[in-house]
């Protein structure tokens, strides 16, 4: 009851503030992992009878709270396994947190893996429409985008060849071209920037810049400090699932780099 009313108040405030894009309140994600993996019935039955299924509770995220305003891109930083990608999936609405909630507004486009859902047997052209459909665009809507996607990916000559004959760089290029050809309010990016060769990377950076000027706000997971400094204004530093620090991107990144250097880990400059 208390949780529901808390949610209602937060949702009401969130709706009233037109500039607020994301509001995360007390987000907790707990995985209950069986101490050994049981995936067949015989073992499960035996363990159940013996009451031997032990679960290890594992907190991926603990009481994470932050908000994102329009035009204020956010970087999520932290070491591997700090919960950055899980948080991104929760914001995208792909998984639901065990406690707390995340409110989002507008068109949210997750870009967690380039070419997720590509069909290797189908041609590049078919995949453009298939991938578009996964994002909810009808065939006709994709028809309008088709030319610009192909032009951006620079794959004109190979667009009718099956995807299994593409190089990995080409697949990433196609994935990126499809993903950025929408005009989202909020874009979630999980370490997928910096694909392809140097000219294509520059092209991606220019496209991201263009989207940003067009009013898209980003939430980025990245280990490249230079990248997040140019793209984001704010940062959240996660450590073992909790927020260690949040605020201005320069200060937070500095603190993170300092922490890493203390551990003797060199970060990408």
């Amino acid at each position: 009851m208390a949780k529901n009313s808390l949610y209602a108040v937060a949702a009401d405030n969130f709706r009233k503030d037109p500039d607020l894009l994301v509001d995360a309140k007390n987000v907790c994600m707990q995985f209950k992992m069986p101490s050994e993996r049981i995936d067949n019935i015989k073992e499960f039955a035996i363990k159940l009878i013996k009451r031997k299924i032990k679960y290890k509770k594992f907190d991926v995220l603990k009481n994470v709270e932050f908000s994102v305003s329009r035009g204020e891109s956010l970087a999520l930083i932290g070491r591997n396994g700090a919960g950055k990608s899980t948080l991104l999936k929760i914001i995208a609405g792909i998984i639901t947190p065990t406690d707390g909630f995340v409110l989002t507004k507008g068109n949210v486009v997750p870009l967690l893996k380039l070419g997720a859902g590509f069909d290797m047997n189908a041609s590049g052209k078919e995949n453009i429409f298939l991938n578009g459909a996964m994002m909810g665009f009808s065939h006709r809507e994709m028809q309008k985008k088709y030319d610009s996607i192909v032009a951006f990916s620079e794959l004109e000559d190979f667009i009718n060849a099956p995807l299994k004959n593409y190089s990995s760089g080409m697949i990433s290029r196609l994935g990126f071209a499809i993903a950025v050809d929408v005009n989202p309010d909020l874009m979630l990016i999980d370490e997928v920037l910096g694909v392809g060769d140097i000219p294509f990377r520059n092209k991606c950076a220019a496209k991201i810049d263009e989207l940003k000027r067009g009013g898209t706000t980003f939430i980025v997971v990245s280990h490249s400090m230079s990248q997040i400094m140019t793209l984001c204004q704010k940062a959240v530093y996660l450590e073992n699932g909790s927020i260690k620090m949040q605020g201005d991107v320069k200060e937070v990144a500095k603190a993170y780099v300092a922490d890493c250097e203390k551990l003797g880990i060199k970060t990408q400059k």
């Binding site: 507008g106 189908a122 996964m134 909810g136 009808s138």
Partner: protein, 277 residues
């Protein structure tokens, strides 16, 4: 800058409609992909969906008419076998493909915003498309068998409505249940293939129930097989017999019940899938 509608009702309904529309677009493109991939790079392509049940029927008609005999079957035997075959294939293909689809599409599920429920459904509709193609085979065989006394009846149109929706409800329910179970226990795949085999022999696909000369109790037990009712209904409307209200009640009652249970189990376990995949 984009604007968001601020009316309370619009705000509540718009995402629902947008979600449904998105799901429908995703579903249809997945079905097209599944059907295309089935026969990619084969010379005859989609023609195989018609040829396959035909050839199967020939084998079954050839083998079983001499082994089991045609005792108790009033229907033309090739039509009898083919109708049993395509109905059972619809069910078995849909349910066994849907069973593994959540696990197989792991990548897509946790990297994009596609709703989980779309995947089993896409397998069911793909099987349904194949079924519609195999109806062409059925019509072809019936045409060939006209000299042997096969006649066409208007009631055959009842295959599309009301038979097919009831059949799909039942299949979807079983599929949602199986794919939930498969996420947790991978053994199901092996167990289910055996169950399907048994189920096939227990369903009068190439024999008739009356020729088995079962005791009354055994006969009643056989009547518990839902597929038997769907199949009887199907054969009745082909041969011009319109089933009475009891048969309608059975196919829709079982269909709705099984669907409700399967869907409920799927919905309740959906959030835990990530732990087991």
């Amino acid at each position: 800058m984009k604007k968001f509608p601020s009316t309370a009702l619009g705000e509540k309904l718009q995402p629902v409609f947008a979600g449904w529309r998105k799901g429908a677009i995703t579903l249809s493109s997945l079905v097209v992909k599944n059907v295309k991939n089935q026969y990619r790079r084969s010379v005859l392509g989609i023609l195989w969906t018609v040829l396959n049940p035909l050839l199967n029927m020939l084998v079954m008609a050839f083998v079983f008419s001499s082994i089991f005999g045609r005792a108790g079957i009033e229907m033309d035997y090739p039509v009898y076998v083919l109708s049993g075959n395509i109905v059972f294939t619809l069910f078995s293909a849909a349910s066994s493909n849907a069973m593994t689809c959540i696990v197989n599409n792991y990548d897509l599920l946790y990297k994009t915003k596609v709703p989980f429920s779309v995947f089993p459904l896409s397998q069911i509709f793909s099987a349904c498309v194949n079924f519609l193609f195999s109806l062409i085979a059925l019509v072809a065989v019936m045409l060939i068998r006209i000299p042997n006394g096969v006649t066409f009846h208007w009631s055959m149109l009842m295959i599309l409505v009301p038979w097919l929706p009831a059949m799909l409800l039942f299949t979807a329910g079983v599929s949602y249940f199986l794919c939930t179970l498969y996420v947790r226990f991978r053994d199901i795949k092996h167990i289910y293939s055996v169950i399907l085999r048994l189920w096939m022999y227990l369903t009068p696909i190439f024999y008739s129930l009356s020729s088995l000369k079962l005791s009354e109790t055994a006969n009643e037990i056989m009547q518990l097989n839902p597929l038997l009712h769907y199949l009887n209904y199907f054969r009745n409307i082909i041969s011009g017999v319109i089933p009475d209200w009891r048969e309608h009640l059975i196919v829709y009652g079982v269909g709705a019940g099984v669907f409700a249970i399967g869907w409920l189990i799927f919905r309740l376990s959906r959030n835990k899938f990530i732990l087991h995949i």
